[in-house]
Amino acid sequence: SEPVARYALGLGDDALVLAHRLGEWIANAPELEEDVALGNIGLDLLGHARSFLTYAGSAWGRSEDDLAYFRGESDYRNRQLFEQPSGDFAHTIARQLFASAYFDALYRALQRSTDPTLAAIAAKATKEVDYHLDHSVQWLLRLGLGTAESHRRMQRGVDAMWPFVGELFSPEPEADAGGALEGVAVDPESLRAAFDELVPRLITDAGLAVPTIPFAWGGGREGRHTEALGPMLAEMQVLARAHPGVTW
């Protein structure tokens, strides 16, 4: 149905945009092991994105690539955290920590969706996200507790990504659609408790301060984005758009 497709589109965009950002690290990471690790995480997320977008597109007769390459910025539905620039390694780890904690809670819950496709995608993704979260936590500790410089940078990273945490728990716009998502979608608000139990504790364990910075407005699910998304999409879509309608 239309609301389910739109719900899947949002989830797909979250994963796609973050996967793209992680891809930017390849051949640029601080050590080869991280070229591999960030690539792995990016690949997993790209897999999730493709599953969600294919499912969403099936409602509209559009392929995953139609959706990924031929929508403009204001048609992208990802929450703003995922589009944030990769910054230095600490920024990336902070973004990934928040993202993975959110995905982890989300996909666990989504496995119980009454929509079998969404439940199946979530079941597969949960295992992968488990590893992603662990990866971020390990680095959070290393950087938070490592050297004075890494501590400073990790705090900066956490602070920079923090304003985009609040939006993760804002309602799905389709939730109002006459109950069509009842039992299908996860209410983001229901994920907040697990996140709030876990993430501040991790930050504290890493010797860092839990930010008191206010959350930004958000609005990614309504197509409102930060200034980071436009240039990212320009690069991502340039080749596909130069040759519309072809097969690669």
């Binding site: 796609l16 793209h20 891809g23 930017e24 390849i26 051949a27 640029n28 990471a29 601080p30 050590e31 080869l32 092991e33 991280e34 070229d35 591999v36 690539g39 792995n40 990016g42 690949l43 790209l46 897999g47 994105a49 493709r50 977008l53 995953e64 690539d65 990924a68 390459y69 230095d88 390694f89 500790l141 290393r142 950087l143 507790l145 490592g146 050297t147 410089e149 890494s150 940078r153 690069e235 991502m236 340039v238 080749l239 596909a240 040759h243 072809v246 097969t247 690669w248």
Partner: protein, 318 residues
């Protein structure tokens, strides 16, 4: 024959020669001649460096891959290359050299890597050409290395070759999709193959008569075939695949020679090869400095990881 200091009774050398004669593997704990060790270190580390630097020309298109499937395949491939670099560094480490030392040689420009990666990838079709031609040539080079006399190297090559042939197939598929596509896509594929064909053939190294080191490597069961033999094998493999693709190899001299049972092909312009080798290729400086920049920008991360590990070790030791 002079017996080296670390093999006073010559028993090490005898055993080494027996291993070679019986086509067995030399293992890290075995005695081996210093020159054999040195040759292997050079070869394996250069191969590792090539994997690392080879991430860049393809990494260039990850953010612009024209479909999500291609994006996923490309990310996985570039990541495999990082993995190959890691296995190979491990293999070299068994010969008594540190990874840090090898990596330092790479980023300070003192180590060599395959010259092919000093070419640039201006078009998406280059992702196809690198897979089909560059990985194809690499496989011809590497399959015999799976039987290399040095155990850790040979075993690393077994794993690498499996992945490389997968990569070659993916490159072929990229070109096939383009050749089955629009006029523009076909032109893109052909233009790219025109650029990569000769450099790929040069990956086997200079003609045999100009390749003085090969003989010793063959005696040591490291190298199994001469440069020209491998090049011939590669051309013989390419021609029928090019026909399937409907792509023209940019060498009018290619024709089947019934007598030799091989395809004849034209002379290569070795000046270009030596130009690139000498650092005058399109991207020599850029390749090394990009990895060096990544390494330098990541110094604080590695220091933090070390400091944290030390603290953990101290805490658990206390």
């Amino acid at each position: 024959m002079v017996t080296p200091d670390d093999d006073p009774d010559g028993s090490g050398l005898r055993r080494f020669e027996e291993l070679l004669a019986s086509e067995s593997r030399v293992e890290p704990t075995d005695w081996m001649p210093a020159a054999y060790r040195k040759t292997l270190i050079r070869q394996i580390s250069q191969h590792a460096h090539s994997e690392i630097i080879g991430m860049q020309p393809e990494g260039n298109w990850i953010t612009r891959a024209p479909s999500l499937k291609r994006k996923a395949i490309l990310m996985a491939k570039v990541q495999d290359e990082a993995g190959h670099g890691l296995y190979l560094y491990s293999a070299a480490q068994t010969l008594g050299i540190d990874r840090e030392e090898m990596f330092d040689q790479l980023i300070t420009g003192r180590a060599k890597y395959s010259s092919i990666f000093n070419y640039t990838t201006p078009t998406w079709a280059d992702m196809g050409s690198i897979g089909w031609l560059v990985d194809g040539a690499a496989i011809c080079n590497q399959v015999p290395l799976c039987r290399a006399s040095y155990g850790p190297y040979g075993r690393a090559m077994v794993r690498i070759c499996k992945e490389e042939s997968f990569h070659q197939r993916q490159g072929f598929e990229i070109l096939l999709a383009l050749m089955n596509g629009t006029e523009e896509q076909r032109a893109m594929a052909q233009e790219s193959v025109n650029r990569w064909y000769a450099p790929a053939l040069m990956m086997f190294g200079p003609p045999d008569e100009d390749s003085p080191n090969s003989k010793q490597s063959m005696a040591w069961n490291i190298k199994r075939f001469s440069n020209d033999e491998l090049r011939q094998r590669f051309v013989d493999m390419l021609v029928p695949q090019a026909e399937i693709l409907g792509i023209t190899l940019p060498d009018p001299a290619i024709r089947w020679n019934d007598e030799r049972g091989h395809y004849d092909f034209g002379e290569l312009d070795w000046n270009e090869f030596y130009e690139v080798l000498a650092g005058r290729g399109p991207a020599n400086t850029v390749r090394v400095s990009r990895r060096r920049t990544a390494h330098e920008n990541g110094a604080w991360v590695r220091e933090a990881a070390r400091a944290y590990a030390d603290k953990q070790a101290g805490a658990s030791g206390a």
